[in-house]
């Protein structure tokens, strides 16, 4: 089997890996690069557990081939915190009890961050629509939505002071 040599940037660092042509980016992240923060739920694009940012857009890593990462910039949940300091969204999810089993959480964090990056003041409807591709079996979503709202207002306060 021919392996493909791929060069990309993952969480701001140059990354090189070998993958099989059929391997998804999700498999590469988890099994080859051991970045296991990104989760596998459905493996067919429905649940959003595998959400990563690729060249500035959130995508389901289970529907991207590892080979497609050539030259791309990838952001996974491991790249969201700054060292040991959690991102505001991560703190808000913790204090807002926006997770129970936690398997959906990395996907929600990456997707919510992408939303706040482009819309610092989303309405509840905009948050729910943006996150429609992320499923959670545990929380019932309300606490997730409220944690995103809390982060948004915190960021607005910080930027106005």
């Amino acid at each position: 089997m021919q392996s493909i040599h791929v060069r990309s940037t993952i969480n701001g660092q140059p990354a090189e890996f070998l993958c099989e042509p059929r391997q998804s980016l999700l498999e590469v992240l988890r099994d080859v690069l051991r970045l296991t923060g990104t989760k596998e739920g459905c493996n067919d694009g429905n649940c959003g557990a595998c959400t990563v940012e690729m060249d500035g857009r959130i995508v389901p890593a289970c529907l991207v081939l590892g080979a497609e990462a050539e030259g791309a910039e990838i952001l996974t949940v491991e790249g969201i915190a700054k060292g040991s300091a959690l991102h505001d969204l991560q703190s808000a999810f913790l204090t807002g009890a926006a997770l129970q089993c936690g398997i959906c959480t990395p996907g929600f964090i990456v997707a919510s961050k992408a939303l706040l990056d482009q819309n610092p003041n989303p309405s509840e409807d905009e948050i729910r629509l943006w996150l429609a591709n992320n499923l959670c079996r545990c929380t019932g979503y309300d606490k997730i939505v409220r944690s995103v709202q809390a982060t948004a207002s915190l960021c607005r306060e910080e930027s106005s002071t």
């Binding site: 857009r57 529907l63 997707a111 429609a132």
Partner: protein, 291 residues
């Protein structure tokens, strides 16, 4: 055992030569939202995956008031609704690209891919048919054009030969006083497959429908252009009663199956309701008022 190959052509010529070489084994990868699922189901063992996203012609998104829209087959949904000019010119297309999947899927999935996959439920296709979109198809032997309403020939099958590639879609410039709309019914708010869908376009003038087109999703083996609905509209006054006749024609033309998503009877009913509501919305978008 899988022995899939991955190719990443950067010119159309290179891309067409790959399709010519691999024929039936070649599978175009744009957003991968259908292809990767099919690969996992074992559908393209020994296949050659051709990543078409780096071919400039398949990545083009261009609008001109006299040329209309050129939509490269691999352009993902988010780029279409992210383009303010295109959004203003083609609200009926925007309806579909902002409802296919969710944010992550829209970051990958393309209208061209939605069309090539040829699902009866494809949301983008009725809107394209209503807008009179034309496919530009190429192979090493040359190019041809095919109206979108002739592109899907059976569930999961399109009119292209094994060595052909869908390069782009072309939508004529929106006529003055025209409007379009796509509506679908799903039991959830987002992230579902249409039980039925209706894509329409209208052009108004002097209180009458100068033109009208209606196409349906999920109620036939392929997306369905309802010629009789257009006939019911053309030349008639912009009135609720005329819209009701077009909606009845859509209901009559639908030949749905009963499956887990809905009964045939329910789907026929939906065709009437969705066509009526989509036409009402298209009239408003065209700047008209309904008598």
């Amino acid at each position: 055992m899988h022995s899939v190959q991955y190719h990443r052509p950067v010119t159309l010529d290179e891309c067409l030569r790959l399709f010519d070489r691999f024929g039936k084994q070649a599978r175009a990868l744009a957003g991968g939202t259908d292809l990767l699922v099919q690969m996992r189901a074992g559908h393209c063992r020994n296949g050659a995956v051709v990543d078409v996203k780096h071919v400039p012609e398949l990545n083009e998104l261009r609008f001109g008031t006299s040329d209309g829209l050129t939509l490269g087959a691999a352009v993902p949904c988010y780029r279409i609704y992210g383009d303010a000019t295109v959004s203003r010119a083609y609200p009926g297309l925007i309806d579909t690209v902002s409802m296919i999947g969710g944010t992550q899927i829209q970051g990958r999935a393309s209208v061209g891919g939605n069309l090539c996959n040829a699902a009866p439920s494809a949301d983008a296709v009725p809107a394209l048919i209503a807008l009179r979109a034309v496919c530009r198809i190429a192979s090493v032997r040359g190019e041809r054009e095919l109206p979108v309403d002739q592109f899907c020939i059976a569930p999961g099958r399109n009119a292209m030969a094994d060595n052909e590639v869908l390069v782009s879609l072309h939508v004529p410039p929106p006529p003055e006083h025209s409007g379009a709309c796509y509506l679908r019914f799903i039991p959830r708010n987002e992230m579902d497959i249409a039980v039925a869908g209706a894509g329409v376009s209208v052009t108004l003038g002097n209180g009458t429908f100068r033109d009208g087109r209606v196409a349906l999703a999920s109620v036939a083996p392929t997306p369905l252009l309802v010629e009789k609905a257009g006939v019911a509209l053309r030349g008639q006054p912009v009135e609720h009663e005329v819209i009701a006749r077009a909606a009845a024609a859509a209901k009559a033309a639908a030949r749905p199956i009963t499956d887990m998503r809905g009964t045939a009877e329910y789907r026929k009913h939906l065709c009437e309701v969705l066509t009526r509501r989509a036409l009402e919305k298209a009239v408003l978008r065209a700047g008209g008022t309904l008598a």
